[in-house]
Every structure is written in structure tokens, then in C-alpha cells.
């Protein structure tokens, strides 16, 4: 077990009240495994990742409970100094928007090299050589010539490759990629996803892939965790979830994708809106939008039921959902 998140809770204090962004999330990632965390905006998928990385803005954020066990140590109990040694060296993050995550006034070579000078005390010259190596590795053409260029001189896909190079620099054991291809065009998105999957296999890292795109994860993920209103509602191996979802929310998401074989028909749409995190409905958070909701859903929060040894679903009626999917 590389990483285990146990009952993590994160709140944000705002003027209007306390927003519960993450309400008891549990997931695990093994060495060399790709876990896709799927959810819409506000589902808590990015906040969970930020809590793992230790880059949550506190305040207004606050970790209200839970544990994040990484390689046997609870990260939440570490001092900031020790935490900093983990961050970057043992785990690294790739962000959605490469342009705003890179420093516009430093050359990309300096930004990649900084990891080596800070974490490993390497000389600047050696760090630059390492930077060229890494840029080669993420297939940036003419890396030797481009190492001194600035972020604005690269295209979106190339900038995302530089982000990947920085994340890989110290060969971490875990990479968290937060919507790494959302800002890219489809043809470039395919390039970047292929590259990420390949490097992950090569280096045997654990990968948490955060996304809202059901299509992107189908190709690369081993397991999927679906989040809704700060909770995991379903986890399953990737193939099983697409064939037979065990939660009505997952089912609704899958059905609302326009399939290539049906056109012009009305799309299935999940009715209503995601809940306001300051007023999460009692019982199952999805109940106001759920076509299967019964009285019990409005009062009792469903635990993560065991569907099979590898699958969990937080739905009182997971059996019915599973059967309806056939």
C-alpha cells in the first residue's frame, strides 16, 4: 500500500458558514497503480488531492479529521519541515493550467533544475544538464536549445510536458495529476495522456488522475473512485464500472454522454443541480436528483457497501442499480 486516505474531512470557513468540501473520503493507491478520481466541480476531488499534497490554503481550509497514510507514515502528523521533504521528492503534482503554474519570468530549465538544487544540493550546471535530460524524456524536440526558453515560448501541450518533467524530476513514488489534459485540444490531449501512462509504467509510480472526463480515464486507469458532494459514492475496477455501475450517479453520468451510435435523440440528463456544500441534503447527498430515491435515502447516509471484493457503492439500492444495468 503506497497511500491510504482514511475518513478525510476538510472544511472551509466562509462568511456564509462552513462549507464541507470533503466529508469522509477513503481511498487507497498501490505502487504502480492508476486510480482515477472522477467528479464534477465542487465534488471535493481536487481538495482531497491538495490535502494529500499539503498545499491546502489553511485558513480558510481546515482538515477536520482523518488520516493520510503515505508509505506507513501519517502525513497529517508530520511537521511542516518533514512534510516539505516528502513533497516534490516522494510525491508530486501536475496541475491543470500549466501556464499559471509555471513562473513566467524564469526559464523552464531553471524551473526544472531548481528541484535538483533545492532537494539534492546539485550545482546549477549539473541541474541544467538534468533539466535537458528530463525535457528529452518528455519528448520536447530540441531540448538542448529550448532549455533556456521561457514558458510563453511553448505551446499548451509542450508546457504540460514541462509540468510532467518537473513532477518526474526526483522520481517520486506518487504523482497526482489534477485534470492534466482538460485545457488541451483533443489531438494534444491524446499525446499527453499517452506520455503520462507510459512514463508511469516505466517508473512504476502510483498515479492519482483527477478528472471530470469519463472518456479520458477509460484508457489509462486501473481503478475509479467516483466522488459526489465530498464523498466517494463508488469505487470499482475500470472495466466493471463502465459495464455495470452500482450507483445511480455513476449510471447517470455514463448515460448522459452522447454515444457515437445514437444521435439526435434526447440525452439522458441527471435532473437538478449539485448540492450547495453549506447545505448538503440529509441522508444520501444525491437523493434529490436520484430517480431511485426512497424514504430511507432522505434520512440515512448510506455507508460504502461491499458489492464485491473489489467494488464498493454508497447506495442503499446498489443491488437494484446493478441489476438495472444489465
Amino acid at each position: 500500500m503506497l497511500l491510504e486516505v482514511r475518513d478525510l474531512q476538510v472544511e472551509f470557513r466562509t462568511r456564509e458558514g462552513v462549507a464541507k468540501a470533503v466529508n469522509g473520503v477513503n481511498y487507497t493507491v498501490d505502487e504502480g497503480e492508476t486510480l482515477a478520481v472522477l467528479g464534477e466541480s465542487g465534488s471535493g476531488k481536487s481538495v482531497t488531492a491538495q490535502a494529500i499534497m499539503g498545499i491546502l490554503d489553511m485558513p480558510p481550509g481546515k482538515i477536520a479529521g482523518g488520516e493520510i497514510v503515505f508509505q506507513g507514515k501519517d502525513l497529517l502528523k508530520l511537521k511542516e519541515e518533514e512534510r516539505r521533504k516528502v513533497r516534490g521528492a516522494k510525491m508530486a503534482m501536475i496541475f491543470q493550467d500549466a501556464l499559471s503554474s509555471l513562473n513566467p519570468v524564469l526559464s523552464v530549465g531553471a524551473q526544472i533544475g531548481e528541484l535538483f538544487t533545492v532537494h539534492q544540493g546539485m550545482s546549477r550546471k549539473d541541474a541544467r544538464t538534468k533539466a535537458v535530460e528530463l525535457m528529452d524524456r518528455v519528448r520536447i524536440p530540441a531540448a538542448q536549445e529550448r532549455v533556456g526558453q521561457y514558458p510563453h515560448q511553448f505551446s499548451g501541450g509542450m508546457r504540460q510536458r514541462i509540468m510532467i518533467a518537473m513532477a518526474l524530476a526526483l522520481e517520486p513514488d506518487l504523482i497526482i495529476a489534477d485534470e492534466p489534459t482538460t485545457a488541451l485540444d483533443v489531438t494534444v490531449q491524446a499525446q499527453v495522456m499517452d506520455l503520462l501512462a507510459e512514463l508511469q509504467r516505466e517508473l512504476g509510480m502510483g498515479l492519482i488522475l483527477i478528472t471530470h472526463d469519463l472518456g479520458v480515464v477509460a484508457d489509462v486507469a486501473d481503478r475509479i473512485a467516483v466522488m459526489y458532494a465530498g464523498r466517494i459514492v463508488e469505487t470499482a475496477p475500470v472495466h466493471e464500472i463502465y459495464k455495470r455501475p452500482a450507483h445511480p450517479y455513476t449510471k447517470g453520468l455514463l448515460e448522459s454522454i452522447p454515444r457515437l451510435d445514437q444521435k439526435g435523440q434526447e440525452l439522458y440528463a441527471i435532473k437538478g443541480l449539485p448540492p450547495n456544500l453549506m447545505h448538503i441534503p440529509p441522508g444520501c447527498a444525491f437523493n434529490p436528483r436520484c430517480p431511485m430515491a426512497q424514504d430511507v435515502c432522505r434520512t440515512d447516509v448510506p455507508p460504502l457497501y461491499e458489492v464485491s471484493p473489489t467494488r464498493r457503492s454508497a447506495c442503499h439500492f446498489w443491488k437494484e442499480t446493478l441489476d438495472a444495468g444489465q
Binding site: 499517452d194 471530470h212 472495466h239 454522454i257 444521435k263 439522458y268
Partner: protein, 375 residues
């Protein structure tokens, strides 16, 4: 289960076939160009070049038809949309609406046409005035055009809110009180307020969450069907475009490279770029047969100095000398269906059957794989 699945009525595919015979096109676009000048130099700022955002685009839109416009960012699809609504004035070429050339009309001459061509924008946060109530946003078009519907404007606004699935009681609320999906519904209500004949929808669902996208697509489809409005639907999401549009034009670097009806384009793409674009779309259907993956190398070239000849040649795996010297015309090539036009010297076979293995177009990747074999 829910009422949604039961009411999956098919949208009539009325358009292809009878279209050419009995209806004149609502909108005719011929060789449309928009070049944005680049100013530079000191002390006198001169024009030193031009961004050729749209560089010779031609197509027709028929009444009640939905035409999809797809392409990657920077291909000129949004600029085309803005030219059609005359938010921009074309550099060259013509836009003919209902038989009238509107490409260089002035403000006053355009006024009567403005009410018939409406636009829905991508960003529902930026396209609604935060200081106006929903009521005044939606009644704005009626006020400007001096339209007084029977029962008054307020009643009409309430009716429109109902049509787009919002609570008519929210008449006096401000945009910030609504979610993204609801704001896009307000945008739709404003666009249909004057019962236009043509709506240009520029990425109307790209900014929305997956579960909300389907709701807005269904709304647009309902509006299209019930009010008989023609749509130019601009998007980069091929699955959504295919779902919504009867005919689709694929753009690359300011030009249409292929245009065809939906069936023909998706089952028998002839242009290598169309083929690559489709194969790059990740498929959520895990059971689907593994498609051949075409990985394109590099990025779209700069529209300031586009490649000579065929613009796709720098990324194309079929490019030959001819592609650099001769620009391929947009024509129906042998083996294509009626109305399926392609601009390519060396088109793909009219089929999408597997070729067996991946075409790897990234030279770095190819080199890596080779060295891996040698080691």
C-alpha cells in the same frame, strides 16, 4: 426509471435529401476571410502582418438545420461564428442571409437582421450583465427592437423562463444567484426571445459540468425542434457535435477541410485530419472495438504564416511534394457520398476499418520505439 429515458424521441432527420430540392439556403457563406492586422514598429505603427484567422470558408445553412463547426483551438471556428453574426466585418468574401448580402452593411442597415440572427456564448458568467436582473436581460432584445408582445414584455419573459426550464418567479433575480447551467439557460432564453431564424451557439456547453451539459443540449434541441430555428453549433467536442448537428464542417487553420452530413462524416471520413481528430477522442465505451489510434505530432502551425499548399501537410502522415505546392480544393472526391466534400490530394479510403496497428506520428516516439527495439 425517470421521465427522461422514456421520452427519448428521435429528432426528425428531415434535412438531408429534400434540402437541396425545395429550400433555398438561409445563410450562404462564400470564400469568407478575416485577417486581423498585426501592428508593430516604432515610431510609426504600421501593419507588419496579419493573423489569418479565417481564410476562405464556404458553406450553406438551410432553414431549421443544425450545422456543426468543429476544430481545435485556433482553427477559426469562433471567428467564423462572429462573422456570421456580423460582430466582425469580413476582410473578404460574402455572407448572404435570406438572399441579402450582409457582409458590409452598416449598423442601421443591420438592425432588422440582428433580431433574426442571435448568438449564445460559451461563458455564461461573462456574457450576462451582473448588474441587470434576469428579467431585464431577457427583455432587452424586445426593448431594443421595440417589440411589445401581447400581454406585455414581462409576461413574455416569464413564458420564456418557463420554456428554458427556469422558475418564472426568478424574474427579479441577478445572474450571480444562478449556477452555470442555469445561466446558460438564461442565455438561451435571451437568444430565442425574438424568435430568431438562426442561432450561432459558440461552445454553449464547454464550460458546464458533465451532468449539466446533457440538460442544456436537450434544451437546445427542444428549442431547435419546436421553433424551427437553424443552428450553427460551434464546439470542439466531437461527440456533442455529432449528437446535435445534421451536417458537420471540420475546420483546420482557417479553412474547412471536410464537410458532410453526420453519418457520412463519422463513418467514412476522407480527410486525414478528420480521421485523426476522431481517433483521438477518448471513448467511454469500454466494449467498443479498439479503434486505430492516430497520434498527431506537434501543434497547429501559426495562422500568421500558414504552411503553403495544404495547411495540414506539416502534421500529415500522407503528405507528399504535391501537398506543399498545390492547395487541394474542397470537392466531392470519388467514393464519397453526395454532398460530402473533402479538401485533400490523397484522401483516406472511404472506411474506418482497422488498419491493424497504430500509426505513430510523433517522430520522437518513433525514434524511441526504434531504439528500444535495438537495445
Amino acid at each position: 426509471m425517470s421521465e427522461n429515458t422514456n421520452s427519448t424521441t428521435a429528432v426528425a432527420d428531415v434535412i438531408p435529401g429534400q434540402r437541396d430540392a425545395d429550400s433555398a439556403p438561409l445563410l450562404q457563406v462564400r470564400d469568407l476571410k478575416k485577417h486581423f492586422p498585426i501592428k508593430g514598429g516604432f515610431p510609426i505603427r504600421r501593419t507588419v502582418g496579419a493573423v489569418k484567422a479565417v481564410d476562405g470558408v464556404s458553406f450553406d445553412v438551410h432553414p431549421g438545420e443544425a450545422l456543426g463547426l468543429v476544430g481545435e483551438s485556433g482553427c477559426g471556428k469562433s471567428t467564423t461564428g462572429r462573422l456570421l453574426t456580423r460582430l466582425y466585418e469580413p476582410t473578404e468574401g460574402t455572407v448572404t442571409y435570406n438572399g441579402q448580402d450582409i457582409s458590409h452593411l452598416n449598423r442601421r442597415q443591420l438592425a432588422p437582421i440582428r433580431s433574426e440572427i442571435q448568438m449564445i456564448f460559451q461563458d455564461p458568467y461573462a456574457s450576462l450583465n451582473p448588474r441587470q436582473t434576469v428579467g431585464s436581460i431577457i427583455s432587452g432584445p424586445m426593448e431594443i427592437n421595440g417589440i411589445n408582445p401581447p400581454g406585455g414584455r414581462e409576461a413574455r419573459v416569464r413564458e420564456l423562463l418557463e420554456i428554458v426550464g427556469l422558475n418564472p418567479e426568478h424574474y427579479n433575480r441577478f445572474p450571480h444567484e444562478f449556477s452555470g447551467g442555469q445561466r446558460q439557460r438564461i442565455g438561451v432564453a435571451r437568444a430565442v426571445a425574438l424568435e430568431p431564424k438562426l442561432i450561432i451557439a459558440d461552445e454553449p456547453v464547454s464550460a458546464l459540468d458533465v451532468s449539466i451539459q446533457a440538460q442544456v443540449i436537450n434544451l437546445l434541441q427542444k428549442v431547435q425542434r419546436e421553433m424551427g430555428i437553424a443552428f450553427v453549433f460551434i464546439a470542439h467536442d466531437l461527440a456533442i457535435v455529432r449528437h446535435f448537428s445534421q451536417r458537420i464542417a471540420v475546420m483546420y487553420l482557417g479553412k474547412v477541410v471536410e464537410i458532410a452530413d453526420r453519418e457520412s462524416l463519422y463513418t467514412r471520413p476522407r480527410h486525414p485530419y478528420t480521421h485523426a481528430l476522431m481517433s483521438a477522442v477518448p471513448n467511454a465505451d469500454i466494449d467498443a472495438e479498439k479503434k486505430e489510434r492516430i497520434r498527431l505530432e506537434g501543434d497547429v502551425p501559426s495562422p500568421i504564416s500558414p504552411p503553403s499548399g495544404c495547411r495540414f501537410r506539416t502534421r500529415c502522415w500522407k503528405a507528399q511534394d504535391k501537398c506543399a505546392t498545390e492547395e487541394p480544393p474542397l470537392v466531392q472526391i470519388s467514393g464519397s457520398n453526395e454532398g460530402h466534400l473533402t479538401a485533400c490530394h490523397f484522401p483516406e479510403e472511404p472506411t474506418t476499418v482497422d488498419r491493424g496497428e497504430d500509426i505513430v506520428l510523433d517522430p520522437a516516439l518513433a525514434a524511441l520505439e526504434e531504439s528500444g527495439e535495438n537495445a
